[in-house]
Protein backbone atom coordinates (compact mmCIF):
# COMPACT_ATOMS: atom_id res chain seq x y z
CA UNK A 1 0.00 0.00 0.00
CA UNK A 2 1.40 3.34 -0.96
CA UNK A 3 1.39 6.42 1.13
CA UNK A 4 -0.07 9.27 -0.89
CA UNK A 5 -0.03 12.71 0.50
CA UNK A 6 -0.45 16.16 -0.86
CA UNK A 7 2.44 18.53 -0.72
CA UNK A 8 0.64 21.82 -0.92
CA UNK A 9 1.83 25.22 0.06
CA UNK A 10 -1.35 26.21 1.81
CA UNK A 11 -1.68 23.02 3.84
CA UNK A 12 -1.06 23.59 7.53
CA UNK A 13 2.17 22.08 8.69
CA UNK A 14 1.55 18.75 10.41
CA UNK A 15 2.78 19.58 13.88
CA UNK A 16 1.27 16.59 15.60
CA UNK A 17 -0.15 14.37 12.87
CA UNK A 18 1.08 10.84 13.48
CA UNK A 19 1.65 9.91 9.84
CA UNK A 20 1.63 6.36 8.59
CA UNK A 21 3.28 3.62 10.62
CA UNK A 22 6.12 1.71 9.04
CA UNK A 23 4.72 -0.80 6.65
CA UNK A 24 6.37 -3.96 5.58
CA UNK A 25 4.57 -5.61 2.71
CA UNK A 26 5.29 -9.07 1.47
CA UNK A 27 5.28 -8.74 -2.29
CA UNK A 28 4.26 -11.79 -4.35
CA UNK A 29 7.83 -12.34 -5.47
CA UNK A 30 8.73 -12.66 -1.74
CA UNK A 31 10.74 -9.48 -1.76
CA UNK A 32 9.79 -7.22 1.09
CA UNK A 33 8.85 -3.64 0.31
CA UNK A 34 9.78 -1.00 2.84
CA UNK A 35 8.47 2.51 3.17
CA UNK A 36 11.47 4.84 3.49
CA UNK A 37 11.55 7.61 6.10
CA UNK A 38 11.34 11.03 4.50
CA UNK A 39 11.89 14.64 5.43
CA UNK A 40 10.03 17.19 3.33
CA UNK A 41 11.03 20.83 3.43
CA UNK A 42 9.72 23.82 1.58
CA UNK A 43 10.90 27.36 1.04
CA UNK A 44 9.76 30.15 -1.23
CA UNK A 45 11.47 28.64 -4.28
CA UNK A 46 11.21 24.86 -4.06
CA UNK A 47 10.14 21.71 -2.26
CA UNK A 48 12.93 19.44 -1.04
CA UNK A 49 12.46 15.78 -0.18
CA UNK A 50 15.08 13.63 1.53
CA UNK A 51 14.53 9.86 1.77
CA UNK A 52 16.61 7.35 3.71
CA UNK A 53 17.25 4.25 1.62
CA UNK A 54 20.40 2.60 2.91
CA UNK A 55 21.80 -0.09 0.67
CA UNK A 56 20.50 1.55 -2.51
CA UNK A 57 22.86 3.06 -5.02
CA UNK A 58 21.90 5.40 -7.79
CA UNK A 59 21.79 2.70 -10.47
CA UNK A 60 19.00 0.87 -8.66
CA UNK A 61 17.08 4.05 -7.87
CA UNK A 62 13.97 5.07 -9.82
CA UNK A 63 12.27 8.44 -9.53
CA UNK A 64 9.21 8.94 -11.71
CA UNK A 65 6.36 11.41 -11.95
CA UNK A 66 3.09 10.48 -13.58
CA UNK A 67 -0.14 12.48 -13.33
CA UNK A 68 1.34 14.54 -10.53
CA UNK A 69 2.24 11.47 -8.49
CA UNK A 70 5.91 11.28 -7.56
CA UNK A 71 7.14 7.73 -7.02
CA UNK A 72 10.50 6.93 -5.50
CA UNK A 73 11.61 3.33 -5.72
CA UNK A 74 14.93 1.69 -4.99
CA UNK A 75 16.32 -1.80 -4.63
CA UNK A 76 18.65 -2.31 -1.70
CA UNK A 77 21.45 -4.79 -2.10
CA UNK A 78 23.81 -6.36 0.33
CA UNK A 79 26.96 -8.31 -0.42
CA UNK A 80 26.57 -11.25 1.93
CA UNK A 81 30.11 -11.91 3.10
CA UNK A 82 31.46 -15.24 1.88
CA UNK A 83 32.05 -17.89 4.47
CA UNK A 84 30.10 -16.08 7.18
CA UNK A 85 26.86 -17.06 8.90
CA UNK A 86 24.17 -14.52 9.74
CA UNK A 87 23.83 -14.61 13.52
CA UNK A 88 21.76 -11.52 14.23
CA UNK A 89 19.38 -9.53 12.07
CA UNK A 90 17.65 -6.28 12.95
CA UNK A 91 16.82 -5.01 9.49
CA UNK A 92 15.71 -6.58 6.25
CA UNK A 93 17.07 -5.88 2.81
CA UNK A 94 14.55 -5.34 0.05
CA UNK A 95 12.79 -2.74 -2.04
CA UNK A 96 11.95 0.75 -0.92
CA UNK A 97 8.92 2.47 -2.38
CA UNK A 98 6.82 5.51 -1.60
CA UNK A 99 4.41 7.75 -3.52
CA UNK A 100 3.52 11.40 -3.09
CA UNK A 101 0.88 13.52 -4.75
CA UNK A 102 2.26 16.82 -5.93
CA UNK A 103 0.15 19.93 -6.03
CA UNK A 104 -0.12 22.30 -8.97
CA UNK A 105 2.21 24.70 -7.22
CA UNK A 106 5.27 22.78 -8.43
CA UNK A 107 6.94 22.68 -11.80
CA UNK A 108 7.41 19.00 -12.54
CA UNK A 109 9.73 19.64 -15.50
CA UNK A 110 12.33 21.07 -13.19
CA UNK A 111 12.62 18.04 -10.89
CA UNK A 112 16.13 17.07 -9.88
CA UNK A 113 17.17 13.97 -7.98
CA UNK A 114 20.47 12.85 -6.58
CA UNK A 115 21.55 9.92 -4.47
CA UNK A 116 24.42 9.80 -2.04
CA UNK A 117 25.26 7.59 0.94
CA UNK A 118 21.88 5.88 0.80
CA UNK A 119 19.98 9.18 0.90
CA UNK A 120 17.87 10.34 -2.03
CA UNK A 121 17.40 14.09 -2.41
CA UNK A 122 14.63 15.29 -4.72
CA UNK A 123 14.11 18.99 -5.37
CA UNK A 124 11.08 20.30 -7.20
CA UNK A 125 10.97 23.98 -8.08
CA UNK A 126 7.78 25.93 -7.64
CA UNK A 127 6.00 27.50 -10.54
CA UNK A 128 6.70 31.19 -10.98
CA UNK A 129 3.17 32.14 -9.95
CA UNK A 130 3.40 29.99 -6.83
CA UNK A 131 6.63 31.46 -5.52
CA UNK A 132 6.16 33.61 -2.48
CA UNK A 133 6.34 37.26 -3.30
CA UNK A 134 7.19 39.76 -0.71
CA UNK A 135 4.65 42.58 -0.88
CA UNK A 136 5.88 45.93 0.11
CA UNK A 137 3.64 47.68 2.61
CA UNK A 138 3.23 51.27 1.75
CA UNK A 139 2.99 53.84 4.44
Amino acid sequence: MADTEVVRREEPFPATSPGPTVQRIQAPETDSIYVPDVDIYEDSERVRLMADMPGVDQTSMNVTVENNVLTIEGQARVDGPQGYELVGQEYGVGKYRREFTLSDAVEVQGIKARMQHGVLEVTIPKREEAKTRKIKIET
Binding site: V7, V38, D39, Y41, D52, P54, V87, G118
Partner: protein, 150 residues
Protein backbone atom coordinates in the same frame (compact mmCIF):
# COMPACT_ATOMS: atom_id res chain seq x y z
CA UNK B 1 44.45 -19.52 32.95
CA UNK B 2 41.37 -20.25 30.92
CA UNK B 3 38.27 -18.17 30.72
CA UNK B 4 35.19 -19.90 29.47
CA UNK B 5 33.60 -17.78 26.80
CA UNK B 6 30.12 -18.76 25.72
CA UNK B 7 28.76 -17.67 22.42
CA UNK B 8 25.08 -18.52 22.11
CA UNK B 9 24.08 -20.59 19.13
CA UNK B 10 20.62 -19.12 19.01
CA UNK B 11 20.86 -16.50 16.28
CA UNK B 12 18.55 -14.13 18.09
CA UNK B 13 20.22 -14.15 21.45
CA UNK B 14 23.13 -12.05 20.23
CA UNK B 15 20.78 -9.16 20.56
CA UNK B 16 19.56 -10.17 24.01
CA UNK B 17 23.12 -9.60 25.07
CA UNK B 18 23.31 -6.32 23.21
CA UNK B 19 20.14 -5.08 24.86
CA UNK B 20 21.30 -5.75 28.38
CA UNK B 21 24.60 -4.07 27.64
CA UNK B 22 22.78 -1.08 26.24
CA UNK B 23 20.74 -0.37 29.31
CA UNK B 24 23.93 -0.19 31.31
CA UNK B 25 25.78 1.99 28.90
CA UNK B 26 25.04 5.55 28.10
CA UNK B 27 22.76 5.57 25.13
CA UNK B 28 21.66 8.85 23.67
CA UNK B 29 19.43 9.07 20.72
CA UNK B 30 17.98 12.49 20.79
CA UNK B 31 15.27 14.05 18.73
CA UNK B 32 13.48 11.39 16.74
CA UNK B 33 11.92 14.21 14.78
CA UNK B 34 8.27 14.65 14.06
CA UNK B 35 5.93 12.30 12.33
CA UNK B 36 5.87 8.59 12.93
CA UNK B 37 7.90 6.84 15.60
CA UNK B 38 11.23 5.42 14.49
CA UNK B 39 10.78 1.72 13.90
CA UNK B 40 13.87 0.73 15.84
CA UNK B 41 12.54 2.12 19.13
CA UNK B 42 15.50 3.65 20.87
CA UNK B 43 17.93 1.42 18.98
CA UNK B 44 20.09 3.18 16.46
CA UNK B 45 21.69 2.21 14.21
CA UNK B 46 20.09 -1.10 13.31
CA UNK B 47 22.62 -3.84 12.73
CA UNK B 48 22.98 -7.19 11.03
CA UNK B 49 25.79 -9.40 12.26
CA UNK B 50 27.67 -12.23 10.53
CA UNK B 51 30.07 -14.60 12.19
CA UNK B 52 32.78 -17.03 11.12
CA UNK B 53 35.90 -18.54 12.59
CA UNK B 54 37.82 -15.58 11.18
CA UNK B 55 35.80 -12.98 12.99
CA UNK B 56 32.65 -10.89 12.94
CA UNK B 57 31.12 -8.58 10.34
CA UNK B 58 28.67 -5.92 11.48
CA UNK B 59 26.55 -4.03 8.95
CA UNK B 60 24.97 -0.90 10.41
CA UNK B 61 22.33 1.14 8.56
CA UNK B 62 23.60 4.71 8.72
CA UNK B 63 22.32 6.63 5.72
CA UNK B 64 23.56 10.15 5.23
CA UNK B 65 26.32 10.27 7.82
CA UNK B 66 29.81 11.53 7.24
CA UNK B 67 31.95 8.46 7.94
CA UNK B 68 34.64 10.70 9.40
CA UNK B 69 32.16 11.72 12.08
CA UNK B 70 31.49 8.16 13.22
CA UNK B 71 33.58 7.07 16.14
CA UNK B 72 34.37 3.34 16.24
CA UNK B 73 36.19 1.94 19.24
CA UNK B 74 36.93 -1.45 20.77
CA UNK B 75 37.79 -2.15 24.35
CA UNK B 76 38.27 -5.81 25.17
CA UNK B 77 35.28 -7.52 23.62
CA UNK B 78 33.04 -4.45 23.52
CA UNK B 79 32.58 -2.57 20.26
CA UNK B 80 31.16 0.97 20.46
CA UNK B 81 29.75 3.06 17.66
CA UNK B 82 29.14 6.73 18.25
CA UNK B 83 28.18 9.61 15.98
CA UNK B 84 25.67 12.11 14.73
CA UNK B 85 23.03 11.57 12.06
CA UNK B 86 21.00 13.81 9.74
CA UNK B 87 22.35 16.87 11.43
CA UNK B 88 21.32 19.24 8.67
CA UNK B 89 17.58 19.61 9.18
CA UNK B 90 15.81 22.59 7.67
CA UNK B 91 17.90 25.14 5.80
CA UNK B 92 17.51 28.86 6.10
CA UNK B 93 14.06 29.96 5.01
CA UNK B 94 12.64 26.43 4.95
CA UNK B 95 9.67 25.06 6.80
CA UNK B 96 8.98 21.35 7.05
CA UNK B 97 6.02 19.23 5.97
CA UNK B 98 7.36 15.99 7.34
CA UNK B 99 10.29 14.96 9.49
CA UNK B 100 10.63 11.21 9.84
CA UNK B 101 14.32 10.54 9.40
CA UNK B 102 16.17 9.90 12.64
CA UNK B 103 18.31 12.77 13.75
CA UNK B 104 20.60 13.38 16.66
CA UNK B 105 23.49 11.74 18.40
CA UNK B 106 23.70 8.02 18.83
CA UNK B 107 25.78 5.62 20.85
CA UNK B 108 25.50 1.88 20.51
CA UNK B 109 27.59 -0.88 21.97
CA UNK B 110 27.70 -4.52 21.09
CA UNK B 111 29.50 -7.38 22.73
CA UNK B 112 31.71 -9.49 20.51
CA UNK B 113 32.28 -13.18 21.13
CA UNK B 114 36.00 -12.52 21.37
CA UNK B 115 38.41 -9.80 22.39
CA UNK B 116 40.02 -7.63 19.75
CA UNK B 117 42.28 -4.65 19.26
CA UNK B 118 41.37 -1.57 17.31
CA UNK B 119 43.78 -2.55 14.58
CA UNK B 120 41.69 -5.67 14.05
CA UNK B 121 38.79 -3.50 12.81
CA UNK B 122 38.33 -2.54 9.19
CA UNK B 123 35.49 -0.17 8.35
CA UNK B 124 33.93 0.68 5.00
CA UNK B 125 30.94 2.83 4.14
CA UNK B 126 28.89 2.18 1.03
CA UNK B 127 25.44 3.45 0.10
CA UNK B 128 24.68 4.39 3.68
CA UNK B 129 25.70 1.06 5.22
CA UNK B 130 28.71 0.98 7.51
CA UNK B 131 30.45 -2.39 7.43
CA UNK B 132 32.81 -3.26 10.24
CA UNK B 133 35.01 -6.31 9.86
CA UNK B 134 36.56 -7.42 13.13
CA UNK B 135 39.06 -10.22 12.84
CA UNK B 136 39.87 -12.68 15.54
CA UNK B 137 43.47 -12.74 16.62
CA UNK B 138 45.31 -16.04 16.43
CA UNK B 139 44.92 -16.77 20.13
CA UNK B 140 41.19 -16.15 19.94
CA UNK B 141 40.60 -18.44 16.98
CA UNK B 142 38.89 -21.65 17.91
CA UNK B 143 41.29 -24.53 18.01
CA UNK B 144 40.23 -27.91 16.87
CA UNK B 145 40.85 -30.42 19.60
CA UNK B 146 41.44 -33.89 18.37
CA UNK B 147 39.40 -36.52 20.16
CA UNK B 148 41.58 -39.52 20.55
CA UNK B 149 40.19 -42.99 20.47
CA UNK B 150 40.33 -44.61 23.84
Amino acid sequence: MFELVTWPRNPWSIFDELESLQTDMNRTFTDLGYGRPWRGGATYPLMNVWSSTNGIIVDAELPGVDPKEVDISIRGDVLTLRGKVSAEGARKGEAYHRRERPTGEFTRTIQLPFRANEDAVKASYKNGVLRLTVSRSEEEKKKKIVVEAA
